[in-house]
């Protein structure tokens, strides 16, 4: 495999592309505010049995004239707004009385967001926002409201193709956008942080010889808590912990990632600078870089975010590596994909919905069984036994828990299985697994030091093995769980040709296993 430094350039469109319009359904979206007064008038009409008094007629008239005026304005604005993408810029013309025209060089386009609120979704349109490099405060943004979903998708593809081609020349890969702070509460720190701080405070007081439980106000608070209506105070306490934890998480995020900047200082050195009070700067030589990991833990994934880590040697031991290999904090997934692709100097498509080979169906069953055996059944059994011994309430708790948690386990297992996969892409091998922390690993094939095929008794019966690729990096090995046996061999053999060859034999014909 030889390296291709740049993705092939897309075909350049004709010199003077046509101006394009926004979607006419935008007018309908703008008229959506009418729904509320119309609905209330309708309800009045229903309540009065269809007879409308003069006031209602006046209201209806006002609504109608407002609708006419606004629709007219909207129509004029719609006819006067247009955009086009030339070979080098995206241009947007707008304005009714004062005509304005903005253009953004395509190589400065960093991300393209598509957002649609429920009204947009109802009409099948979406708002497209274009973010550019260097401006985090919104000045560099440009938005088109609204395009049909198809047109928006097409425009995004056009913009990003150019952006990708430019990435290789642009030394700065990413800088902090303060809006990313919204992802901070989606990390471990929300609950973990509160308990860590509380634990530290307790330890501190303990060292001083103070027992917090004996302090008057604390004891009073706990007594009051116990005496109060628990169905109010417990949610309130949880809410308080969540709010406190979120604030803490934002503080931690800011401390770690303030003035974050990821850039190529020279063509062979990647540098991450970040931190508010403690500033960090980590440089990674590209010959030490073995790949990247796209991390999408459950909560962050639900919020549409992801973070990126480097797989690189020379960053110290496992602990050090964990701190130093971070390339991107929790950020929008699109940004994470862009950074990962920029670091690897590969097109973004590599990580966005990569073409992965699915694992055998039995992997799904194993996930369901694992979830039931290790998470659900122990709790159910304990409850059932306690219930049988002491009170029937717990027996009911047991079966309710079983009934409620089984679909959750099945759903999680299905999610885990659907995203389980592996594949080869140019000089990289890809593997994705996990449900609570879903990691997509992209490893350089020539960085694989050794292959390990491991199997448990149940795995052997099911005919699956776990393949581990050893690499020189903080994390010693990267696991690809639950591959079919022949699949694992074929994959390792294809990924690093030659190493396995002399230990292979054809599968004898006839029934296997």
């Amino acid at each position: 495999m030889t390296a291709t430094p740049l993705p092939p350039q897309p075909p350049v469109p004709t010199a003077e592309p046509a101006w394009r319009r926004l979607d006419p359904r935008t007018l309908a979206v703008h008229a959506a505010w009418l729904a509320a007064p119309l609905a209330s008038t309708g309800l009045t009409a229903l309540a009065t049995g269809g007879r409308l008094d003069t006031r209602t007629w006046i209201t209806l008239g006002a609504i109608a004239s407002a609708f006419a005026v606004l629709t007219l304005i909207g129509l004029v604005r719609w006819t006067r707004t247009s955009y086009r993408v030339t070979t080098s810029v995206i241009e947007v013309r707008s304005g009714v009385l004062t005509r304005s025209s903005r253009s953004i060089p395509l190589h400065r386009v960093r991300n393209v967001d598509l957002t649609a609120n429920p009204v947009h979704r109802l009409f099948g349109v979406t708002v497209l926002r274009i973010g550019t490099a260097g401006t985090a405060d919104g000045r560099g943004e440009l938005s088109l409201e609204a395009l049909s979903r198809a047109a928006a998708g097409q425009l995004r593809a056009e913009l990003l193709r150019r952006a990708e081609a430019a990435t290789a020349h642009e030394p700065t890969l990413s800088t902090l956008d303060t809006r990313w702070l919204r992802y901070a509460p989606l990390t471990f720190w929300v609950f973990g942080g509160v308990f860590t701080v509380a634990g530290a405070a307790y330890r501190f007081l303990d060292d001083l010889g103070i027992e917090p439980w004996r302090i008057g106000p604390v004891r009073a608070a706990f007594t009051a808590f116990g005496a109060s209506a628990l169905w109010i105070t417990i949610p309130l306490a949880l809410l308080a912990i969540t709010v406190l934890g979120s604030i803490g998480a934002v503080v931690v995020y800011a401390e770690n990632w303030w003035r974050y900047r990821l850039e190529w200082t020279d063509p062979h050195t990647l540098r991450v600078r970040r931190g508010l009070l403690t500033t960090r700067s980590v440089s990674i030589a590209d010959n030490q870089l073995r790949g990247v990991v796209l991390r999408e833990p459950l909560l962050l994934r639900a919020g549409g975010g992801a973070s990126v880590r480097a797989v690189a040697g020379g960053l110290g031991d496992e602990e050090e590596n964990r701190r130093r290999s971070a390339l991107l904090p929790p950020a929008p997934r699109a940004e994470a994909l862009r950074v990962a692709a920029g670091v690897l100097r590969e097109p973004e498509a590599l990580l966005d919905r990569p073409r992965l080979v699915a694992h055998p169906r039995v992997a799904l069953r194993r996930r369901v069984v694992r979830g039931m055996v290790f998470a659900v059944l122990p709790a159910v059994l304990v409850l059932a036994v306690l219930g049988a011994l002491f009170t029937t309430v717990l027996v009911h708790c047991a079966w309710v828990l079983l009934v409620l948690s089984t679909p959750v386990v099945v759903w999680l297992a299905r999610d885990a299985y659907r995203h389980l996969g592996h594949g080869l892409h140019g000089r990289y091998l890809l593997a994705r697994s996990g449900v609570f922390s879903r990691d997509t690993v992209v490893l350089r094939r020539d960085g694989v030091l050794a292959w390990t095929f491991s199997s448990s008794p149940t795995g052997r019966r099911a005919g699956v093995v776990t393949l581990t690729a050893a690499v020189t990096a903080g994390e010693p090995g990267y696991r690809i769980p639950d591959l079919a046996e022949d699949q694992s061999v074929a994959f390792a053999h294809a990924a690093v040709p030659g190493v396995l060859a002399e230990f292979l034999e054809p599968v004898p014909p006839g029934p296997t296993r």
Partner: protein
Amino acid sequence: MTQPHNLRLRPPRQRIDPRARRWWTVQALVLPAGPMLLVAIALGVLSLLFFPGALPWLGPLLLVVLVLPALAYLLVMPTWRYRVHAWELGELAVYAASGWFWQRRRIAPLSRVQTVDTVRGPIQQAFGLATVIVTTASTAGDVKIAGLSDADAEELASRIGAAAQHVPGDAT
């Protein structure tokens, strides 16, 4: 994948020294089977002497929790391990199989080999056995071949060393 799925990894060709079975048995006796049996015997004797009433339920409990697992481990593990453990030095790579309940097959290309260590523990020395550890730049890439006879270990270590030098590579 375009590769046809009709190949499989065969077991490594070389068996380890049969004495390894005894080595593993002794090792299992030292930890954990021996202590488990001793605890069971001590508890049984104490209960017989001082609380004979407890025997009807303590006896079966000790049997199930301590005695049977210890005996099973002692009897099953060494033979099972001996069936699984194997190794082979190929042209380009070194290949080893290990484990018993959980099994592992590992292949490391000779071009990635950094060092070859020969280790002899106290019990191994008594049986004239050795373990060869082929290290790479990652702990997940270290190939460990346990239970070789001293002579085999020496020979294997020098062969791997020589082979690793002939295969070009930067070992990272």
